[in-house]
């Protein structure tokens, strides 16, 4: 399990070429979409469809990487790779961890 999310705004801005405007836009979108992203992960798990879970975990991995959350992205990558190998049912705990992580990131970003 990853440690607490710490916002590394400098590294994110570095990637965005120092563009505060784009950063603010992405933060808004992340916060706005967090519920639907969590719901999509839950739905994928409930569907029992490994391909769908793999894709949702991949999306979440990308989102976390965008906000420089390497630990969260690594957890999402584990879910993605296990789903690629056909594992779904035993990933409930890991999926719940990802949902919690997404909400944690959203909270930190909202707090600014």
């Amino acid at each position: 399990m990853a440690g607490a999310f710490v916002l590394d705004k400098a590294s994110i801005l570095d990637r965005l070429g120092g563009d505060e405007e784009i950063f603010a836009m992405m933060v808004d979108m992340f916060v706005q979409d967090v519920d639907s992203n969590c719901a999509a992960l839950g739905t994928a798990l409930a569907s029992g469809d490994a391909a769908v879970l793999r894709r949702e975990a991949h999306t979440v991995k990308g989102l976390m990487a965008t906000f420089s959350d390497e630990a969260g992205a690594a957890d999402a990558s584990v879910v993605e790779l296990r789903a690629r190998d056909g594992f779904v049912d035993d990933q409930a705990e890991a999926v719940a961890g990802l949902q919690q992580r997404l909400r944690e990131i959203a909270a930190v970003l909202s707090a600014g």
Binding site: D19, E21, M25, M29, R55, T59, K61, G62, T66, S68
Partner: protein, 350 residues
């Protein structure tokens, strides 16, 4: 303005990439969160750059690129695929499948700008070359048309040179050439073939240049020996025109050698029968004889149209190919127009 197509099922990525594309300047992004809809858009729109995510519902980036490349004219358009750092195998597949370059997630603005600019430069170069090729092609077309016009004029003037030594007129050449075209139309020949016979028919009597004046200009009936010499104009015409690289002059050679052949095999120089006679020869035979009959000459009055038509009718299957007579009579309205347009007393139009 470059049209940049961005396809990603993640809204946040779409927004991010759009913002980065706009920062490039002179770009207009088009966004799709679903690859199938993007592909549909691509059927009627041509982007200058495609940026596509790998993992998407229904159709992944590899399949999208493959389907995109299969669309007509989309083979050269630059495609950037977005992959994660740990997807090396997918990158290889994408390269083989038609991606030009990659972007890694999370997206880095410096890397993005450099790669996107490279791809857009490539596209600008492609468009420049395409425009240049089109320009050169139209230039070649223009120059070829000029040469063709000059060729037409020279052919007409050569044909006139022969006719100047003959009681027949320049208007005769024009009329019989247009009658030949009417017959070609009636026989359902292609537009190109109709045009070819229009341009080649005037050369039918060019061999008369080689016939001595005392025979060519003799007012009375030719003796048997004189007529044998006169018949030589068909071969002389072919000799003058043969082995040309010009399609029109090649057709002219064919017309010259065959326009005095008769459908029943009693013509000259070879006594060919029916379809042994080249089609252009069979066509020109009808056109030439009809105009000769209906034209006034120092040694004869013009036949009436009715009598000339009757002559053609009577000659079906004997002198003339019945299909050519049929085609000529079917275009009667046009025949009358041509007679009006090219009168003997008027200067012929080149």
């Amino acid at each position: 303005m470059h049209n940049v197509l961005i396809i990603d099922d993640s809204d946040i990525n779409l927004t991010l990439i759009k913002a980065l594309v706009l920062k490039l300047g002179d770009c207009s992004p088009t966004l799709f969160d679903h690859p199938v809809a993007a592909l549909e858009w691509c059927r009627s729109n041509v982007p200058d750059l495609v940026i596509v995510d790998y993992m998407m519902p229904d159709m992944d980036g590899l399949k999208f690129i493959s389907a995109f490349r299969a669309l007509h004219g989309r083979n050269e358009i630059p495609v950037l695929m977005i992959t994660a750092n740990d997807q090396k195998d997918i990158r290889y597949d994408a390269l083989l499948g038609g991606a030009n370059d990659f972007l890694t997630k999370p997206i880095d603005r410096i890397e993005f700008s450099a790669r996107a600019r490279n791809m857009l430069s490539l596209r600008t170069g492609q468009k420049y070359l395409a425009d240049r090729a089109e320009h050169l092609s139209s230039l070649v077309e223009e120059r070829t048309a000029e040469i063709r016009e000059r060729e037409k004029e020279l052919i007409f003037r050569i044909s006139r040179a022969a006719e100047f030594r003959d009681p027949e007129t320049g208007a005769h050449i024009q009329r019989m050439a247009h009658y030949s075209q009417i017959i070609a139309l009636g026989l359902d020949l292609s537009i190109a073939q109709q045009k070819l016979i229009l341009e080649a028919a005037p050369m039918h009597d060019v061999g008369k240049i080689g016939i001595p004046d005392y025979i060519l200009l003799k007012p009375g009936k030719l003796t048997h020996e004189e007529f044998e010499v006169m018949k030589g104009h068909a071969r002389l015409g072919q000799e003058l025109l043969k082995n040309s690289r010009s399609e029109v002059i090649q057709a002219g050679a064919e017309v010259a050698i065959s326009h005095h052949e008769k459908y029943d095999g009693t013509g000259y120089p070879y006594g060919l029968k029916g379809h042994q006679i080249p089609l252009f020869g069979r066509i020109v035979a009808v056109a030439d004889v009809f105009d000769a009959l209906t034209s006034e000459r120092p040694y004869k009055r013009a036949w009436s149209l009715e009598d000339a038509c009757q002559f053609l009718e009577d000659g079906r299957g004997k002198h003339f190919d019945p299909m050519c007579v049929e085609a000529f009579l079917a275009g009667w309205e046009h025949v009358l127009d041509i007679r009006q347009r090219f009168r003997d007393e008027e200067m012929p139009q080149i």
